[in-house]
Symmetry: C2
């Protein structure tokens, strides 16, 4: 380099250097370590290396410019622009030579490690760094004077052009290598995983490969198909977990496995078949062949995780709840019977403990509580609640056996979230009459037009978020006491309170021409048990950290997305906290799967974080029972809710100790 060389400055990196005139821009960028993408290796085929030249007037004048600091638009660029999209004013950096001083902007879309925006508002962007990348190469033809294997010449090309060394090659690729090389006339695109393994090959230039991030829940399976080159989510799909036919909840599935020889294998087969359907569905939506899917990431609770891997979950059905493995696994998709690209790999996020699964790991990866000084509580409510508490110093996790009450099971008029289900409730403290909203209608039940709007679905029951609200509102309206007893004396002043045996029920909806929707004393008890279990788990972790309060709360999962956090706090599901710091985290487990899919380095991150997590087993913590008993009261018998009381006027009055019968009823599964 000399002063006679041209000065080139790349933005946004600010990297700069002097280069001999005639140097291709891409080469200059690489010399300086500027992040510019390229799949085709500078052959003006892929168009990934587009840059915007900010100085000099050549961009405007194109080939006719005389004062150009950059070479005129080349034939290769013109040919590319005819075939594919060359952004206005952009140049292919591989095909443009430096002729004078330049400022060159590398747009985000031309960076290898670009940032992918996540939908959730407060979520950090994902750094795109996929484990598998495409590389286009031209391979030397075989020569009898210097015999060598086709694979070895391919490897030489990958080393010369992409600095990829000591690659292994899948047998399936080797089996198709010779015809593919010849069909592509010695030009091929290969997918290299982790800079170590050749896992797929296509003749000629192959544009895109895809990855599938899947959250395997016990009820639903949700997947997102992402373009591994752009990071973009191109299709999403969800379906019921077909294992439901073997048992509604997790424990009944474990029981099925215990009772039926081959039962675990049946459930493994069912969920893998569902994954194949899911993959076909998203591929069809995105109009790509399913064989372009090269990577899958999976999250799920420990039982789903084990069944997916073909491991009988029987050990997870009883103490000491031993996982077969708590580490992340990378296996071939074919080993799981997945019909994707034959070279596709599956990465399962690590499990944390017997009841805290890869889904919780996904939540941690998505929320990254370890990155903040603020003490963050994350709860993912399902049949088991998975609870993570921590900050940049420590991370704790446990699971708590909430049972299925929050999902509408064990509730007399409960149902899954579906059109017709009550999801919002307000009770007038004077009349004790309720108004509500159902899924499928935008109107409250006391607004004009509700009856018509609800006609299609009817009012069919109450879903999880509705149950939270109705019981919290019953408490605010004085219908139930702090200890959850329905006040029978109110029956004299409101027809809404009706006797039911030795207890009383609250009539939520009269339901003209049908059975009234009532909240029974048992329903209240079921919710009290569930929320007490959740709260006790949280309290246990807080106690381990000696934290009197938490700074932030995130509610993960579908349930967390739908409940009104204020009511969750009034009911005492979660501890007191500034309500502005309480929010839904959406499907954080699924987001974690997507991060692991798009950002290879995040896998090492979550594997490291999971090793750091202090695992608390609620079943053997003597204090759990104490917290559980205290948490039976609404919001809580022992704890104050100062932040909440600034916003909501809570009824006064002490809760009685819960009755013996409630104590220790701890559903598992």
């Amino acid at each position: 380099m000399s002063e006679a060389d041209a000065l080139v400055v790349f933005t946004p990196s600010g990297k700069r250097g002097r280069f001999a005139r005639g140097t291709p821009l891409l080469q200059a960028a690489r010399t300086l370590g500027v992040d510019v993408d390229s799949v085709c290796g500078g052959r003006a085929i892929c168009g990934r290396c587009q840059v915007l030249v900010m100085e000099g007037d050549f961009a405007k004048h194109g080939v006719t410019s005389t004062a150009a600091h950059l070479s005129p638009v080349s034939e290769a660029e013109q040919a590319y622009a005819k075939r594919r999209r060359l952004n206005p004013g952009h140049r292919l950096s591989c095909s443009s030579q430096i002729q004078g001083d330049l400022v060159v902007d590398v747009p985000s879309s031309s960076q290898v490690h670009r940032q992918v925006v996540r939908k959730a508002l407060d979520a950090r962007p994902i750094t795109l760094d996929p484990v598998t990348r495409l590389h286009y190469v031209e391979v030397r033809e075989p020569d009898m004077h210097d015999p060598s294997g086709d694979l070895q010449r391919l490897a030489k090309a990958l080393e010369a052009e992409w600095q990829l060394r000591e690659l292994t090659c899948d047998l399936a690729v080797l089996q198709s290598l010779q015809p593919v090389l010849r069909k592509g006339e010695w030009k091929v695109t290969v997918a290299v995983r982790d800079a170590r393994q050749i896992i797929a090959i296509w003749p000629g230039f192959h544009e895109s490969i895809y990855g599938l991030a899947v959250d395997v829940g016990s009820t639903t399976i949700a997947g997102h198909l992402c373009d591994l080159e752009s990071g973009e989510a191109v299709a999403s799909s969800g379906l019921m977990n077909p294992q439901i036919r073997f048992g509604e909840d997790l424990m009944s599935r474990v029981s099925y496995s215990m009772m039926n020889p081959g039962g675990a294998a049946q459930m493994t087969e069912a969920v893998r078949t569902a994954l194949n359907h899911l993959a076909k569905d998203v591929a069809r939506q995105a109009k790509v062949p399913v064989t372009d899917i090269l990577e899958v990431t999976l999250v799920g609770n420990p039982i789903m995780h084990h069944l997916l891997l073909g491991i009988d979950p029987v050990e997870l059905g009883g103490a000491p709840f031993a996982l077969a493995t708590d580490e992340a696994m990378t296996i071939r998709a074919t080993e799981m019977g997945l019909e994707l690209n034959p070279g596709a790999r599956v990465y399962t996020l690590p499990c944390i403990a017997g009841h805290v699964g890869a889904d919780a790991a996904g939540v941690i990866l998505s929320e990254r509580p370890d990155k903040s000084a603020a003490l963050t509580l994350i709860v993912d409510v399902g049949t088991n609640a998975e609870i993570v508490l921590g900050n940049e110093q420590r991370l704790l996790a446990c699971s708590s056996p909430t049972g299925p009450a929050f999902e509408g099971a064990q509730i007399s008029c409960g149902q899954r979230a579906a059109p017709g289900a009550i999801e919002r409730v307000r009770i007038d403290p004077a009349t004790l009459a309720a108004r509500f909203k159902i899924i499928g209608s935008e109107l409250w039940s006391d607004e004009p037009g509700f009856a018509e709007s609800a006609q299609r679905t009817g009012v069919t029951g109450i879903c999880g978020s509705g149950i939270i609200e109705v019981i919290a509102e019953m408490y605010l309206a004085g219908i139930i006491s702090r200890d959850g007893v329905v006040d029978g004396e109110l029956a004299s002043r409101s027809p809404r309170i009706v006797p039911a045996g030795r207890t009383f029920s609250y009539v939520l909806y009269e339901n003209p021409g049908g059975t009234p929707l009532q909240i029974t004393q048992n329903d209240v008890r079921a919710i009290q048990l569930a929320k007490a279990a959740l709260y006790a788990g949280v309290k246990l972790l807080m106690e381990h950290l000696q934290a009197p309060a938490v700074d932030r709360i995130r509610l993960a999962g579908a349930f967390g997305s739908h409940i009104d956090v204020k009511y969750a706090m009034i009911l005492g599901m979660i501890p007191d906290c500034d309500l502005a710091q309480v929010a839904s985290a959406g499907n954080a487990a699924g987001s974690g799967a997507r991060i692991a899919l798009l950002d290879n380095s995040s896998r090492r991150t979550i594997e490291g974080l999971v090793r750091r997590v202090e695992k608390i087993e609620t079943a053997i913590e003597p204090r759990f029972q104490e917290h559980f008993v205290g948490a039976m009261g609404i919001p809580n018998t022992n704890d104050a809710f100062p932040h909440l009381e600034k916003v909501v006027k809570l009824p006064q009055g002490k809760a009685a100790a819960p009755r013996a019968g409630s104590r220790g009823r701890r559903p598992r599964g």
Copy 2:
């Protein structure tokens, strides 16, 4: 250590050190780096650590000895001796404590890297260093107070007891891990491959694992089952390559693949099925379950190699004869449809070039011409002859298209080596009468009792070694000239010479009551072409090395085992050499597979050697034709055979130039 400590000397290593009284012998051995085997980790279960204590009189007196320099025979040793074989006078070094000065002999059977004796007389012993080893461990039980995966606790035990770190685990092992740990009551034996991968697991102590070394020839498949712990070959088996139904020779199989869509897959399926039969057969012979086979090594020519791996060999059917890969491969046995242990791996030796396969690599590994200053020529005669020439400085290889004449094909009365086939021939120069031996009889045809002895089989034809001898003897007796023409003038003096059209034939056997066995002019020509091709290949390599002569010759393969090297030289198949330095190498390719099976480090050796081999492609070497033409004469038109002439009186006379019709007829396949 102090002078008060006891001095312990281990033989044969001579390693010595002082140890505190009470130190177990095994621990002392390990401290000194003495090679003592142990699978059970010092628990007196495996019996691998047996030693003979040479000094002190305790061994004779056992527990009653008072002057013992070694602790008395322990209960553990007594229990072991009841269950299994404790060699007379031997002790378990894990259970014997040092009490005074000792000389301890570690017998070869107790060494990890023991030497395995090979059958061939001049062959080096194999160093036992199998890629997969058994390790017995006790695993900590799961503990809810400190949750961890079963796999992680197994890994910890393997690290603590065997210093094995960062192991991966096959999915199949993970799937069976939990029941196996519990069945073994937390004591298990695991097979760890290459100190990196857990590939199999058994409850409790598992005694032995096996490996299978297979030479896949185009005609026969031969396999040896070896105990990977002792190195011992425990069973052998051979079967016909079922691909023969798709084509007798290699080229017809490649043609089958070209002509029939799916033809390659059919042949792959056939050979893999045969491997499964072979594995079952040797396992049955050795009375071990086929699931105890954990490692397979394969050698074969390039077409067999490709078909085994499921690669269509079509590219090997024509120039430039490109291999899909010329490197060694390690793949899972399940990927090849082999029904062994689910964790079994297959190692294929590297191919050298399009016509020089993994079988040639096996030959090199078995013969190690690179270890000697003497220039060694190795020829493996099949349909293609594979030729290796070299010494510690250089290694060259080529293949030469001999065609199937040496195997009895293209010979009018030729047949495969089978009972009834003529394998030895002597011709009386005076009478021109032949005497011969057939396979299945120890008698020469002119010895009393031959007729009876031959009655069972009859005299059915002539096999490869017989053809070599009869033509060489015809030359020595003057029946054919140096240029291979049957001398019709002899018909007047012997009824053995009969006219056949415009040429003459030699009646080898009158065959009372059947067709006479004759050697026709065409038969002589076919052998001349075949031997000329072989010799020309050899000559080409010698020329590349500028070597006027070779120091040693090894004839590999079944053919090489049966021919009389003197006749091979008289015929001019091989160049002149001291006959004492010419020998059969037996099934050297198969030996190479066995070495690669038992000695992991030999794999790196052969991979490195193959990279060093200079590959000569006879098809594009202009000098090949010249050498070929010169080699048509018997022994050779251009070259002298001074060593041979010291032993055999060769007829005098110049050979005419071969006729144009013979020139360039070069069978391939």
